[in-house]
Subunit: 370 residues, 3 copies
């Protein structure tokens, strides 16, 4: 980036193309882009993203100064539209957004109101917010940022460059990797839901395992992850978890999974690599979910899910079967009508057969009639 | 209200009638009402609400000093029952409860332990609780009340008369209107669940939009609302949201909606005016829900919902169709039996036809028999 | 326990057997056990639990120093396996875990940063964490432990030996019994979701009841329980509630229930004794659930649930019926094929009957043919 490109507000179109590894399909390389907006809201100094064919009308009508489009979409928009053309428009957005919205980081430092227990160790350039509580022997890596009111129990470890937003609570012994992001109200290492029925009551089984979060994980607001009962609950590297998710004790979640909001996974279930859970999915305990599997929104899983499969419905089963089953239900009224028709036709046929027989048998009778 | 009416504890029956715009159907206007209780628990100095015909037996047996009933219900209770008669008994409860349970408000003032950043502006008669953190440039309107431990990020705006209960977290730039109530643990403006798959991993798409809450909204405990990815997530005027709800990035929720607990609405869905979401409803992303639509409890919506329609089931569809479909499932055993009967009858008929034919054909054979 | 048994790290096998009321099926009574681990991870100084036949292979291959097994399982493992044999292996784990992992309790005392309102009363040996806020007239029993940042509203009562983890919020007037455990982010006594439609908007019905939690209850992280609208919301003695559960206003939950994660129970529903709710169950309002009833995971209950019954599905119905209904759906393709076969067979029969009739009638015609 040259000084000249930095002279005005925002970015030049040329700089946008450079940042996202694209090319200017049409437009003035010196045109300035000061922000990104939705197609229907964008103005002349803003870039808008065209994600798919269903938004082509909005793209044509958009007041955006330029569009960010994929190679496939380019020829479907007017030729004279200023545009940056890339392989993957969604991914291309990332460096542009990062350049337009640099993170405002508070200067490192420990707020004077923070409470640090005995044996707490802090890495270089750590930030600890107001009223944060780091209990005995908690250890923070370099550049860790701990938000206001976060509570880190005794012996907690947090790796370099991780960010704990306000109000995060880590129970004793929780381990958090590097570059992890924990949003407001995340609770890690909570006692699992483990009781034995003893003498007419639920008696608590002590929960003594840990909650271990690998590098590059992000966890959404108010999500809860239990500690292991014995052994650990683990979340693998690069896995992303949305808001209000519940992972029970001894779940072992692989790397690069994505877990949408309000999902619940019961105890001891083992999840492979790159598994996708859409919103409100429920998974029973002690199951195995293979690598690359997917669960559609609100699917409820009661048995193992093989590698690479997509399951849907409640109980969850292969998407194809689920859709067939739904289609069959749609055709039930038709089936009922066919059964009615069969009953009628069979009765008719029986009657006509009977009549024919009667006729034969009745031949003499009729002749013998009065 | 006269001084005399105020002389004893609670309210006179006359005052109750006056407050809720009703009339005394029977009873002593000077009778004192000191509280409101459920029909089965109410005592002689308490008022009990009769909400519907299913509670008539409880109403007749109730020890309540007086009943609050609608015009339609009045003639179904004993004539000598002390009662206040109104158009809408549920709505009538509001002014009576407000009079019997005046809000205990702490005196305005900023607790000495609260942390206020640079450029924070406070309106008149603001209350800020212990350990609340208002980061740089946060702005509070008049009479705003911020509970203990609330964290308001940089640049947050909160309108007049809004109440933030303990432990609310507002991410940077969140905008909250007037007379808004946010319950404990609400998180507004959380980063949305936005990633692109880049070089074998989920890479975070910076979330740079805002979360904007209009006037007269109430949001329940531990509910999370994401900020927009680009553009804003918005909740319209007068909309009420229950506990543990998740609204994803760029949801645009209209005014006067009601969203019950554990609902999840995925990204970019647009919701009209006065839409009702019962508990545990799930809504996919990028949908449109028309004005006055309703979703029954646990409905899962995968396509647009037209204005005024009520949908139920998973996948959600018109309530009427859903109920028909359930009824059809109930009749499946019957249908199966009808098919069995058809198979049997058809076999019988075929056999008798065959027998008849055989008879015909066998005529000679038989005649030719031994 | 003798001094000798205490000499080394962990426990002797004899001490393990003594603690859980079992016997050594095989093994050296002086063998030392320093921890408990899962079958597949356990090492030579660890005890591993064999919970059921499905884990027999893992048990045989396990590197555990000794196994904890039930009487029924004992004869299915190799005779020379060191083992402790008990009636109920799961329950037996409790005293062993308690002995191996004694709770690390902070010394009692009130952190100097805690804020105590007027009229607050503290029992003996109370612990109050950093930045906790106890508002006016809050009362704590003996040995109560309040975690950092907990907020107890005016007039809250907490019984002896209860533990409030970090970030618990109790709204004004909430009552918590003895030996109750509230995990991080629990919100009790939240305003219920009660509005009346008045003049074109939702108007809040003041929520003036309490939230009352009986003795020996445990409530998971980020769970919310509303206060009663009028009257109380109650949770009975010994009931255990998992993370992210929602109990609405005026729910009356009986003793010894278990409520798994992400369950929602709507207003005024009454739940009996010992009821089990699996994960993501939803229950409509104003229902009655009988003693000992069970709801399978993700069941959605719209009508009363009789005592002792197990319901499943959406809408929930007796498990037996639910399973039959699922099986019937599986057989729908078969039923459709049977209907197709019937249609074909009936057409064939009709054709052959017609042909036969034609033959009869056509006899003369044919004879009269060219």
């Amino acid at each position: 980036m040259t000084a000249e490109q930095d002279a005005g507000p925002g970015l030049t179109l040329a700089r946008v193309a450079e940042l996202c590894g694209g090319r200017i399909g049409h437009g003035d390389p010196e045109q300035r882009i000061t922000g990104i907006a939705a197609l229907d809201l964008a103005e002349g100094d803003q870039l808008a993203l065209l994600t798919g064919a269903s938004y082509l009308d909005e793209a044509r009508a958009s007041g955006a100064g330029a569009l960010l489009v994929s190679n496939e979409m380019e020829e479907r928009i007017p030729e004279d539209r200023a545009r940056v053309v890339v392989d993957d428009a969604h991914a291309a957005l990332i460096p542009v957004l990062e350049a337009l919205h640099p993170l405002r980081q508070p200067a490192p430092g420990v707020h004077p109101s923070a409470v640090l227990g005995r044996g707490v160790r802090l890495g270089a350039d750590v930030t600890v917010g107001a009223y944060a509580v780091l209990e005995d022997d908690a250890v923070l890596g370099d550049r860790v940022r701990v938000g206001p009111h976060a509570v880190l129990g005794p012996g907690v470890l947090v790796g370099d460059d991780s960010v704990l937003h306000a109000h995060v609570v880590l129970y004793p012994g929780t381990v958090v990797g590097e570059r992890v992001v924990l949003h407001a109200g995340v609770r890690l290492g909570v006692d699992g839901f483990g009781y034995a029925w003893v003498e007419g009551g639920h008696r608590k089984v002590p929960q003594v395992g840990r909650c271990v979060i690998a590098d590059d994980v992000e966890i959404g607001a108010n999500t809860t992850v239990d500690r292991g009962s014995i052994g650990d609950t683990t979340v693998g590297r690069g896995t992303k978890i949305d808001n209000l998710v519940h992972l029970a004790h001894n779940v072992r979640m692989g790397p690069h999974c994505a877990v949408a909001a309000l999902v619940g996974i019961a105890g001891s279930t083992r999840v492979g690599t790159g598994v996708l859970f859409a919103g409100q999915v429920g998974v029973a305990g002690h199951l195995k979910i293979g690598d690359g599997a997917r669960l559609a929104a609100a699917a409820k899983l009661w048995r193992d899910l093989p590698e690479g499969e997509t399951y849907a419905g409640a109980p969850a089963r292969p998407l194809r079967e689920h859709l067939k089953s739904l289609a069959r239900l749609e055709r039930l009224p038709g089936l009922t009508k066919r059964v009615q028709a069969l009953e009628r036709d069979l009765a008719d046929l029986r009657a006509s057969v009977a009549a024919a027989t009667d006729e034969d048998e009745a031949g003499d009778v009729e002749k013998a009639g009065p």
